[in-house]
Amino acid sequence: MASHMIIDVDGLGMLITLLQREGYRVIGPTLRDGAIGYDVISQVDDLPLGWEDEQDAGRYRVKQRQDTAVFGYAVGPHSWKRFLYPSPVVLWRARHSADGWRINQPAEDGARLAFLGVRSCDLHAIMVLDRVLLRGPYVDPSYAERRRQAFLVAVQCAHFTPRTCFCVSLGTGPRATHGFDLALTELVQPQTHRFVVEVGSARGAAILQQLPHRPAQPSDLAAAERAIAQTAASMGRQLQTAGLPAALLANLEHPHWDTIAQRCLACGNCTLVCPTCFCFTAEERTDLTGATTERIRHLDTCFTLSFTYTAGKSLRQSIRSRYRQWLTHKLATWVEQFGTFGCVGCGRCITWCPVGIDLTVEAATIASTGQTTKGVE
C-alpha cells in the first residue's frame, strides 16, 4: 500500500473526471435547498466550497465559511443508502399474455457508483448495512451489486464543529481507518489548499497513480492528525455504550418511554435520515388493464401504524411502543442480531427530529434511572 500522498484542489477535480472516465457515476456533497445533501456531481464547483453547517437538536442551517474548505461541514440529511439501497426498487415484474403470466426481474441499471466525501460514520453505516443485507442466509441482490461496484472516497472529518455527532462514543470515527478506496484529509490554509490522500485498496491505488500527486511531508501528516484530533475533541454529544443494550432491554416498561412519546410525532424523519435503517414494505402495483403487475419495495419506517399490521390490526398502536422499537433496535437488539450497534453516531436523527428528541439523552435517561440489568441478558 502506498504511503500518504498529497493532491491539490485541481487534483480533486481530476479525481472526479477520472472516476467518470472509468465509468463511475460520481456522487458527492452538494448544496441544494439550504442543505448539503448528496447528488451526482461532475466538477469541483458542484461541491459546497466555502460552506459549513450549524446543527443542533431539531436545527440545521448552512452558512458561508471564512475559508474555501470543500468538506468543512458535518453530515447532512442524506446518507449513502439513498444510492446503495434506493427506494423504490422493482423486485419483479409480471406480464400477462395468451400463455399466462411471465415473470422476470428487471435488470439493474448497471451504473457503477463512486462516492466522494464519505465520512467515517457513514463508512461504518455501510459496513452495518453489509452485515444486514449481505451476510445471509439471504442476500439482497440489488444492494450486493451496487455495493460490490461502489468506489468509496472517504473524507476525514476536520474544520467544523461536530455539534450533534457522537461517533467517538461508538468507535466509528472521526478517523476513517478502513473500508475505503481512498481517504482524503483536507488541509486548508491561507496559501495552500490541499489534501492528504491515504490509499485503502488496490483499486484506490490505481486511481491515485493517474493523478498528479507528491509524497506527503511529515508536517502535512501532523497537520492532518491535528485537524482530526480537534474534531474528536470537540464532539458535541456522547453515549455511554458499555452495558447499554442490557440496560435498555431491562427497562422496556420504563415510564420515560411515555415521556418521550408525548413529544414524538411518529413522523419517521429519524428513520429517513438514518444511514442504517433498512426496513421496507413491498407492494404490488398493477396497471389499469391488469396485464402487467410489479412488486415494488420502498423504504418504510417502524413509526407508522401500518408497519406491524398483522391479521387485521396493528401490534404497535402507541407511539411509545414505536419509538421504543426504533431506539431499542438501534442500541440493543441490533447487537444481538448483527453483532454491532445499529447506530454509528452520525447524529442525523437528532438534527432532523422536528421536536429535537436526542437519542443520546433518552437512552442515557432510561439506562441511568431504570431497573438494574440483573436477570436480563
Binding site: D99, W101, I103, R295, R297
Partner: protein, 286 residues
C-alpha cells in the same frame, strides 16, 4: 383473474416467486380451504413442518402461509388458508389447474428430532392446527420414535373444526390421544365446551413433564394461557415451543416488519422455544 400457465425466468433473486400448480383443493370450513401445490420448476423442494412459504397472487400481493401437511412427493406443498384479507380471499378461490407463485421455504421448523424418545404435546387453537398438522403427520410417519403423542385442539365452534376427517382418523388410532374442545357448541355437539388450557389437566397422566416436548400454535392469548398451564404442570420453558405470527413481508430477514424483540420471526422463528421468548413475555406492544 387468470391463473393459467406461468413461467419465471430463473434469477436467483430471493424475492422472485416460482410457479406452482394447484393439484388439489379441499374445503375445510366455511372460510378455509387446503390447497395442494406442485412446483413447476423445482422437484427437489422440501419444506419442513413449521416452516412457511410466501404465496403470491399476481396483481394482488403475497402472504406468509405455513406448511400444513407433508408432501406425498418432493416438490409438493400443502397449505391451509383462511380467507381473511384480499390475498387470502384470492387464494381460497383458486381451483385445480390454477397457477400461483411461491417463495420459500422460510423460517424454523418444529423440533421433531429433539422430541425423539419424548412425550409430545401438540396444542392448537383455531387455525393454529394447520402448522401443527404438518408436525403430526411427520410424527405419525415415524410413530415409533416418540412416546405418548397427545393432540389438544380448541376451535370456535364445531363448524370451524379443521381436518374433521383427519381428526376422527387420529382419534381412532390407539397410539395417539386427541382432545377437542369448542367455545360455542351447536346442538349436535356432544364433546367438550371450554378453552384449550382446560384440556391440559385432563392429560397430565399421559406425559412426564421433564421428558415432554410441547408445541403450541394459536392466537397469542391462547398461547399465553396455555404456557402458564404447562408451566404449572412442570414442563420446563425450553421444552415449550411456540409458533408466532407477525406480518412477514419478505420472509428472509430483510424487511424488518416481523421483528419481536431481538428476533426476526421470519428467520429466527416462527417456531421458538419459550425460554427465549420469556424475557419479553410481559412487554406490551413489543
Amino acid at each position: 383473474m387468470d391463473h393459467r400457465a406461468l413461467t419465471t425466468q430463473v434469477t436467483g433473486s430471493p424475492f422472485v416467486p416460482l410457479p406452482f400448480l394447484v393439484i388439489g383443493r379441499r374445503r375445510e370450513t366455511r372460510d378455509t380451504v387446503t390447497l395442494r401445490l406442485r412446483s413447476l420448476c423445482d422437484a427437489t423442494l422440501h419444506a419442513q413442518p413449521g416452516q412457511f412459504m410466501m404465496l403470491s397472487v399476481y396483481g394482488i400481493g403475497e402472504v406468509p402461509i405455513s406448511i400444513s401437511g407433508l408432501p406425498r412427493r418432493p416438490g409438493e406443498l400443502e397449505h391451509t388458508i383462511r380467507a381473511v384479507g384480499s390475498v387470502t380471499r384470492h387464494l381460497v378461490a383458486l381451483h385445480r389447474g390454477d397457477h400461483i407463485g411461491v417463495r420459500g421455504p422460510f423460517g424454523t421448523g418444529w423440533p421433531l428430532e429433539a422430541a425423539y424418545g419424548q412425550d409430545v404435546l401438540l396444542i392448537a387453537g383455531g387455525l393454529g392446527l394447520a402448522p401443527l398438522r404438518s408436525a403430526l403427520v411427520a410424527i405419525l410417519r415415524e410413530r415409533w420414535r416418540y412416546r405418548q403423542v397427545v393432540v389438544l385442539y380448541g376451535a370456535r365452534s364445531p363448524a370451524d373444526l379443521l381436518y374433521r376427517r383427519d381428526l376422527s382418523g387420529w382419534q381412532q388410532r390407539a397410539k395417539i390421544t386427541v382432545y377437542v374442545t369448542v367455545d360455542h357448541p351447536d346442538p349436535s355437539w356432544r364433546g367438550q365446551v371450554g378453552v384449550v388450557p382446560n384440556l391440559i389437566r385432563q392429560v397430565t397422566a399421559l406425559f412426564e413433564p421433564t421428558n415432554t416436548v410441547a408445541m403450541i400454535c394459536g392466537p397469542e392469548i391462547m398461547m399465553r394461557f396455555t404456557v402458564r398451564e404447562l408451566q404449572k404442570h412442570g414442563i420446563p420453558d425450553e421444552r415449550i415451543f411456540l409458533s408466532l405470527e407477525r406480518n412477514m413481508q419478505c420472509g428472509i430477514g430483510l424487511c424488518g416488519h416481523c421483528q419481536f424483540g431481538p428476533f426476526f420471526l421470519c428467520k429466527d422463528g416462527p417456531v421458538l422455544p419459550y425460554s427465549r421468548l420469556a424475557p419479553y413475555r410481559d412487554i406490551r406492544e413489543l
